[in-house]
Symmetry: C3
Subunit: 150 residues, 3 copies
């Protein structure tokens, strides 16, 4: 057996697995818990030890990890409105857009997380939940989930 | 030799390595430099080229990379108090919690970093240091370090 | 063939690939689109499915993903000046430095992104562009690009 054949077989067996989550939120701003959806993709991938990259593919939405508590989610939204208000005379709006604040808000929250996988499961702390944060919704948008490991 | 055996041997030899750092800070808010601890885990892993995911497993602490300079650390803390003050009437506090600001502060700092590994060492710039940022301490909390590579 | 030889051949064939981008901006603050440079490194790596870590190696610059629209870039810069103003009496400046605001600004924007690679290309959404954000330029600084996958 040549090393070339080995390389081929290695390539065949390295588990990288890619899937996409689609969103079309009813409201312009909406936070959606996606922990279960990410866990299902990791299970489908067969990877039992590694990482899952969960990354928004649009620039006015984010992905973050925090608590699944409705009051806190409201606190986040009030806070983001204070730090990055809608309705200011943003230069971006001279292009016809009206969503500059959505770009800024998603920057605060982050647009991606890398989730560790151990023993076949998402290796999350007791209160960690993965969220999709939509800041300019009411249309189809995607999140990529790329799983890598062994 | 069948490809199944090869897959088995590949799985045996792909270095993924997982460890956890524990913290129990004296103060509610405390920043701890963890570069050496992460480097030690990478060395133990045997991985000489790849990445180390360093990620807080609790939702009121963060992990970030920046300068190890006491004045700057104070600047960060003053700044975070301005952007995400404690003591506001957060909705999260209606659950009995008093730490909504800690969730917001850790969001600004980030909750994880991915550190590159090259030639057996953390591939960091001259001033880069890895920090654990505690915003609701005085109890046991964890950071996961997941190493992947070759 | 022993499993040791297999391990050796596996190590030889796992594509991890590392390169560095150098910057020396004319202005103290400058945002530079680096999507093409990252794509070129990924192509050179031969990795067709995996991830590319793109990470600033200096602590007063960042790497982020967002829109390549000049008005929005100006909005980001005005916004960062409001959230993390230059010229305040930062403690960090007692060391002789004058760039504490640059450390804070880069923290808002993030210092690294992990870019998914699928079918030989950066797996980015329609408007996603990768940016280098310099907040204390006019000198040589680096970004590491570490590619991993199959």
């Amino acid at each position: 057996m040549t090393s070339e054949l080995e390389a081929g077989s290695w390539k065949r067996t390295l588990p990288t697995f890619t899937d996409y989550l689609w969103f079309n939120t009813k409201n312009r701003q909406e936070f959606v818990c996606i922990t279960d959806e990410v866990a299902a993709i990791v299970q489908k991938s067969g990877v039992t030890d590694g990482i899952a990259l969960v990354s928004a593919m649009h620039i006015t939405s984010g992905v973050y990890v925090n608590d699944w508590e409705d009051g806190l989610i409201q606190d986040f939204q009030v806070w983001l409105e204070k730090l990055a208000p809608a309705g200011l005379p943003y230069k971006h709006h001279q292009t016809g857009e009206d969503n500059a604040d959505a770009h800024l808000k998603r920057t605060i929250m982050g647009h991606q997380v890398v989730v560790p996988i151990t023993k076949g499961r998402l290796d999350l702390g007791p209160w960690e939940q993965i969220f999709y944060a939509e800041f300019d919704g009411r249309r189809k948008k995607r999140v990529i989930v790329k799983v890598m490991g062994t």
